[in-house]
């Protein structure tokens, strides 16, 4: 039973929720992040996620520890993140939290996704019809984010 996982396999929110099953739970909240078909007005063809798996799973566990330190009423945290090529509409990440009662769970969930984007060692390449970008939440686009000749379509 793995609460924190980086996987190339398709994700299922139900499978992640099942990891938290416990009669002491009264509530489970989940966040499901899916691949959106456009960014900044440009059509996305697909995304490629890449991880440093040996450190990324540890940083996922760190997010879980921080959530439980800040909100001790959270009983369990599970986070699964997919890597590899993802098409529009596919699930990239599932975060699930369990607790006896619902207060604070939404704040904790919000913290978990924000923190994941900050510290988890996963990178995302957006591939559009006319270019690519390695995208980070930290703001400034990295070098390498430039239109390029799309050889696949020739």
């Amino acid at each position: 039973m793995t609460l924190f996982e980086i996987t190339p396999e398709p994700l299922s929110a139900d499978a992640v929720i099942a990891r938290l099953a416990d009669p002491a739970n009264g509530a489970v909240v989940t966040f499901v992040g899916v691949v959106r078909g456009e960014t900044d007005g440009r059509a996305v063809r697909y995304l490629e996620y890449e991880a440093y798996p040996e450190m990324a799973e540890e940083t996922l566990r760190q997010v879980g520890r921080e959530v439980q330190e800040r909100w001790p009423t959270i009983r369990e945290v599970a986070i699964h993140h997919r890597v590899g090529r993802l098409e529009v509409g596919e699930t990239a990440v599932v975060i699930a939290l369990s607790a006896a009662h619902r207060p604070e769970m939404f704040d904790a969930l919000h913290y978990a996704i924000d923190r994941l984007k900050e510290i988890v060692l996963i990178w995302k390449k957006e591939v559009w019809a006319d270019g690519i970008e390695w995208r980070s939440e930290s703001g400034s686009p990295m070098p390498g984010s430039f239109p390029y000749l799309d050889t696949e379509s020739h």
């Binding site: 990440v93 996704i113 060692l121 390695w134 980070s136 990295m142 070098p143």
Partner: protein
């Protein structure tokens, strides 16, 4: 102990710098006592395109973040980590 001992390190790249270098992993032999900063400087001489990324990079040695003045040891895994973008 000799003054000119050498150590071997494994360097890992991810995302845009990985594509720029054209490899996810390199093996390099450097003098004992080489720091992270000196290793990165050697690599940017070998791959000038890396200069565009160095100010964005954090570095982890053996899976823990370190400062640029950290001395490297034989067998170290040095990961060059650009800003993350999961979720």
């Amino acid at each position: 102990m000799t003054g000119n001992a050498e150590i071997s390190v494994r360097v890992k790249f991810f995302a845009a710098p990985r594509e720029a270098v054209g490899a996810g992993q390199l093996e390099r032999t450097v003098p004992a006592g080489t720091t992270v900063e000196e290793l990165i400087r050697c690599l940017t001489e070998e791959y000038p395109i890396l200069r565009a990324y160095t100010r964005f990079l954090s570095v982890a040695v053996n899976r823990a973040y370190v400062g640029m003045q950290t001395e490297l040891h034989d067998g170290d895994e040095v990961a060059c980590l650009p800003p993350v973008g999961g979720g």
